[in-house]
Amino acid sequence: MSAFLPETILNLLPDAIQLFYLVATGFFIRGVKLLNSPGTARKGNQFAAIGMLIGVLVTLFDQDIVEFELIVGGIIIGGLIGLLLAKKVQMTAMPELVAVFNGFGGAASALVAWGELARNPDILSFDTTGLISIGLSVFIGALTFTGSFIAFGKLSGFISGNAITFPGLNVINIGAMIATLGLIGYFAFDPTNPTLFWVILGVSLLIGVTSVIPIGGADMPVVISLLNSYSGIAAAMAGFVLQNNLLIVSGALVGAAGLILTNIMCKAMNRSLVNVIFGSFGAAAGGPGASGDGDKSIRETSAEDLAIQVAYASKVVIVPGYGLAVAQAQHIVKEVATKLESRGVQVKYGIHPVAGRMPGHMNVLLAEADVPYDLLKDMDEINPEFATTDVVLIIGANDVVNPLAKTDPTGPIYGMPILNVDEAKRTIVFKRSLSVGYAGIDNPLFYAEKNQMFFGDAKKSLQALNEALNEV
């Protein structure tokens, strides 16, 4: 693009580009800040998008860029695919999509470093810093790519959600990571051996697979958040390769912000990041109470019976979980809630921080069904209210209401804060069967005296309840 400019402007161009990069960075920082609060979040995302547009447009004026065929083609192809994926995806599949996008981002950073290496005819023209940056960029980018796709596979069910592991895998993984760093150092020392680069690339791709596969499906949100942080760091490393400030700053920004967000998510589950990554949560299926308790009795309820219970309640709390997402039952929940509200029943939603497959997943789904977000209560807000609640409707949630988290110190979810639904006068569990939840353990709540089970697909059950409410 710079070819179209007069010479006077051309001289100022490098500085002008840097200044516009600074403006773009400003938009990113402001954007992320605004994303922190529900009222301004949408604007924040738009700010960030504007920053990105500025960054891309300004770069096209870079004097090094002289050919535009590949650029235009690449942007059109990538833009169309991105548009299609973003418009077509179901809200329930949001975690999977974020994983996929993140994988692409990581792969792109690895490719940028690799492309820069391959583009230069003389490999010895790279200094040590450049070579180390290339190695790190390929390493982090490649493991983000495969790691994200394993996470995607686990979320969508292509790969078993259970933790797949064997003793010593963690040690092997850590060893492989250290070895890769060593290889990168050696590569910087002697870049003339092409095999070395391939080994680094191959091992990095492999590490992405072997370090995510031992982590249970319930922890995938944390993993995706962490990988999101990695893809930022990979972008920053690609920035070091190209000595590009915008890449370094934005990459570092996302890397750091992603790490903090990951930490917040871990705290919500009362676990440390180390525990998530190396704990193999979910591999401990068959824990206490998982089998051999055939004598426990449950109480079943019917749509008609339940309709009467909720219609004459004064306060009802709805606790949604992944089952609601799977059944696509968010709209019918809203319908039932509206009907109850018109009868004067107070309806609130209790959202556990890790309900669903991604933090905030339930909020997104219920927002899709036009539930106002001020009715969605965080765990800390809703827990004191259960004592005054008449009926709690637990729809497709399991582990987040499992009292074993408080009572069984040997269980895999011990210590995780839960929604104290057992304090309410009555709980109703909407579930297809008595099967265990993601954590692979039984739930004593199902057998509690105050609890009734409403078996069936969440959507069909709610539809039945909705119709029954007309008769009350």
């Binding site: 998008a49 090094d64 490719l111 999101n228 920035g239 992603g258």
Partner: protein
């Protein structure tokens, strides 16, 4: 263009500190959109991809850059759009549709 490595590291470190400070008490409602928005920003690597694909040099390197542009653009366009789609649905009680 020769740039001082110390300066680049300085920028990297400062930007990281800003990133740490930017995320404070995010309500869980926003965890998913925030993650997806930040993920779109990490698609900034598209800028690097443009440079690799558009500069002179070995065609193999440029085609690798081309692949990088496609993947990064999917990340950027898809990421921002899907985040917007999510946030569009968040409404306060009483807000008009």
């Amino acid at each position: 263009m020769e740039v001082d490595l110390t300066l680049l590291l300085f920028i990297f470190a400062l930007a990281s500190f800003i990133g740490f400070e930017l995320i404070s008490k995010v309500p869980p409602t926003l965890h998913t959109p925030l993650m997806s928005g930040a993920n779109a920003i990490s698609g900034i690597t598209i800028v690097g991809a443009l440079i690799v694909a558009g500069s002179l040099g070995n065609p193999i390197g440029k085609w690798i850059g081309f692949a990088a542009i496609i993947l990064a653009t999917i990340n950027v366009v898809g990421g921002f759009l899907v985040t917007d789609r999510m946030l569009e649905m968040f409404k306060k009680k009483g807000d008009e549709k």
